[in-house]
Amino acid sequence: MPEPLPEENAEDLYDSAPCGYLTLLPDGTIVRVNRTFLQWTGWRRDQLAGRRVHEFYAVGSRIWHETHLAPLLHMQGEVREAAAEFRRADGSRLDAFVNAVLRAGPAGSQALVRMTVFDAKERRTYERQLLEERRSAERNATRVRLLQEMVVRCAAIERVEEIVAPIVRVGDEAFAATATRVWLLDPAQAALRPLGVADELLSLDDQAPEARAAALLDVVRHAEDDGGLRLVSPMLADQRVLGVVSFVFATDRPDPSEPQAARPRAYGENEPGPTRPRAYGEDEPARPRPRAFGEDEIELMRTVGRQAGQALERIRLLEETTRRAWQSGFLARLSRDLDETVGFTGRAMRLVELLVPDVAGYAQIDLDAAGDPAGEPAWRASAPARPGGGWTIPNDVLATVHAAGRSGAAPAAALLITIDGERALVLPLRARNAMLGTLLLAGGEVSGAGHVGPEFLADLADRAGLSLDNARLAERDREVAHTLQRSMLSGDWPADPRYHVVTAYRPAVHTLEVGGDWYDVFATSAESVGIVVGDVVGRGLHAASAMGQLRSAVRALATAHDGPAEVLRHMDDFVSHFAAGQMTTLAYAELALDSGVLRYACAGHPPPLLVEPGGVPSFLWEARSGPLGASAAGRARSEAMLTVPRGSRLVLYTDGLVERRGERFHHGLDRLASAAAAHWQTPLGLLATELSDAMLPGGGGHDDMCLLALDYTDAPPFRTEVPARMQALAGFRAALDAWLGEQGVGDYDRFGVVLATAEAVANAIEHGYGHDDARTVGVLAQVDGGAVSVRVSDTGQWRPPRTALQRGRGLALIGRLMDELVIDRGTGGTTVLMRRRAAGGGR
């Protein structure tokens, strides 16, 4: 039997209903409230009755009641399932849903609002979660978009500094950070440096969150003392930290009444300006909420760090590549420019010019006198000009640099010095384990990072040192070679009126190094002369010294052996015994001065040119064989012989005279033959110059050139032995005068030559023999090419003149009468060579 249902009365149904129940006047005044509502809220009935329900709402619901609930009740009489939040007596909140209905009262009475209140704590919690998730998703969608934008922008930047803007933008828009700062790791200092701030440095050992994040390789959250927050995300590339991004969240927004300009702003801090248009009066800026960061936000910050790190790594690689390309390009340019600059000092000056401004604002080279670090620099090159004459490097610095330079440490370390507030680097200049001096660099890139690093500078200094040293050595070689060459090529020819020789040597243009061309003239016997022109392969000191050896060898062999073929055979032996001189070419000829018999041979050398009287040229094409030392050539040295008429001219030369770029060799020979014919009338004294000029217009060719021309005197010479007594002079004078007349020498020239020669003979009688009439004075006179040459020789001992005046007058007289005068006082006697250009006679 079913149990009876309990009695229910309306009062209990109302008071104990499973929902709150409020009856309100239309203006919200509470008329009646049930017990359930009182129990839920903790208010007593007397606290509620007669008060407006607004007072028991949380503020949001209060406004919502006025702006939504009341109007809807007025318009549609009912509101359902609206969210409302009541204040409990203990200050906590009751989340509720309310249904409300407006009941018009009977005529004459007020309308009433009946409101049921349901506890919606769980549902509201759920809704809040839903809402939070949705908003979080929306936020994150926005953030991911901002992040993607950052990645895209980072991918386009080319300089480290440009990474700040995209990151700050993410901090600003994705996280609403008060400020976003980018710190870069300075590995050398083991410290972080804010990008764009000059002098701030944060050691990695610091407890600041930036340093901790760099050490932890993860996001660090740091609560500031003032309630603000800092979240720091490391910028990573392959788990290497390159820096950190620091997001700052201030505890409060700045007071808007405070002028913005007065607030100091850190670099990278977000722009505080309004993001929305404001007109018709300022809106109140939003008050900050306390920030809480979810794992999703932290992860996004991590991603910002990783993306920024990768962008930085890419930029670094790009910059490193660019820097290395620049460096190697610069060093290559430097080496080339230095190589093209001749001379030690020239190179040093060029070097400092090249270093400014790409490497430094100021460059200075101090070259040591003799490796003495404490001594004054021997020489200085600097650029640009500096008032006061440049830096004076303190002695202790010099000593350190020298010690480092000598220690051979590679790369040589640069020493940073500061003088009068200016910073400069001092590097050792060294080569072949020796110190040359120092290179000082100041200003420009030197003090900053830039593309100039220590390795680059060390490389630069080493290259510069080597280049300078090379220049120094080359200069020294060149000096020696020139000296050698000058001594070899000096025109100290045997004087013999039966022939005359002129020579010319012209170095190649565009080089300062000497070549190996030489010529030589020497007596092979009393009655024959040997002439040679040769060409040693190569240039410089080696060629010059080889040339010297070969020249001596030819001389020695020519006097010891008979004929050109023999000479060449022995020269082959010579070059095979000595390393130097292989492949040397030469033309050698011996002329018998009385008979005119010419013997010649060519070892791989252009043929001698014979110009017979009247200007008929012919090359001597016989007796040809290979260069010296050429294996097959040695066994087949031959010589040719012919008799040349008196008055002939023989021209020996090296290929530099006839070779032109782009011209066949035979054309060059043809030009030489034509030029020699055309200059037949040219006196021998001028011939070498004029023939060279004709063949090498512009002063020189691409190779060295030497030329030797010998004129075989066309008339027999005047030759006599004068007894050493003054009485013999008169007859001698008459004989010489007659002979000169026969040669067509004019009266005036005859008188001069005779007077000068008699004076020389008188000197020999008086000072050479002391009037010993058993002795004779030899006189040889020759007319050739418009000049009269006279040789006066004795075999006596020189005696000092009785009075200087007398002696001086004799020589002075000869000097005035003759154009050239050479006096050779040897142990075996004295020879006086005189020459006077004469009108008439000759060709």
Partner: protein
């Protein structure tokens, strides 16, 4: 798109009659004026509209950037007047629309004959000596509650049309909705409304102004009404017997009478 379409304009009364424009405030739409506006239609050209984002306005025209201040709403109002070629307008604005109309009248005074401000507040947040009725924290809480009521309000605003014994004539007409509001737009409109500060604009008013102040209004307390009255040159303040923030709904007769009386003066 024309302002007429964008703002869901409804016109009542003879075309050549003096124009009276009614603007709704935060929380609802032009239905707020349903018990008052028609009463002017006999001898006025009555203009009703919804702010962009409210009622049947074109939601697509809402741009959070543009509507970040009340100025944009004032611009819309001026556009409507230009489009309808209205001058010498009587503007009746409720709640925040009072300030919107005031801004528009300050911008183009020639178009306005009179202003009626119903429950106006130039600033809701207390500021030093100024009493606005809310602390900054309370407004934050309001905006928070708008957020948390995101779903609740949507549900609450869903139309629940019941046969209403008192006003059966409404039933069909309201079959669409009252106060239909996009929650996201409502959230921003609330922020713009409750963070605005238009105190400096009060002194620039140059047209005759009537202030209707309810006797008990938690949103626009009497101190605020008095402040408006003191700062709007030549303004008239009428304190209604009506309580609450919406006398146009809770006391349409009194509201009509006060406006009508003001229109008949001067």
């Amino acid at each position: 798109m024309s302002a007429v379409q964008r703002n869901n304009i409804r016109l009542l009364g003879p075309e050549d009659a003096p124009a009276i424009v009614f603007a709704h405030g935060f929380g609802c739409d032009q239905n707020m004026w349903r018990f008052v506006a028609p009463r002017f239609a006999d001898d006025h050209r009555v203009v009703l509209f919804d702010h962009v984002g409210a009622g049947n306005s074109d939601l697509g025209a809402y741009d959070a950037q543009r509507y970040a201040s009340l100025g944009a709403y004032a611009d819309d109002l001026l556009e409507i007047l230009r489009e309808l070629d209205l001058r010498g307008v009587v503007f009746v604005g409720h709640s925040v629309a009072a300030m919107i109309g005031l801004l528009a009248a300050n911008a183009e005074p020639d178009r306005f004959a009179k202003l009626v401000l119903v429950g106006p507040s130039p600033r809701y947040i207390d500021d030093h000596d100024y009493y606005g009725g809310f602390s900054a924290g309370e407004i934050d809480e309001l905006l928070d509650s708008l957020d948390s009521n995101y779903l609740g309000w949507s549900a609450a605003m869903a139309p629940v049309i019941m046969g209403n014994a008192d006003r059966p004539e409404l039933g069909e007409e309201l079959s669409n909705s009252f106060c239909r509001t996009d929650p996201a737009i409502a959230r921003q409109f609330a922020e713009v409304t409750f963070r605005s500060d238009n105190r400096a604009d009060l002194g620039k008013v140059s047209v005759p102004t009537l202030i209707l102040q309810c006797s008990e209004d938690v949103i626009a307390p009497r101190e605020v009404g008095a402040y408006c009255n003191a700062n709007i040159p030549g303004s008239t303040l009428i304190v209604l017997h009506a309580t609450g923030h919406c006398p146009n709904l809770s006391a349409p007769d009194e509201t009509f009478a006060a406006i009508d009386g003001f229109l008949r003066t001067g």
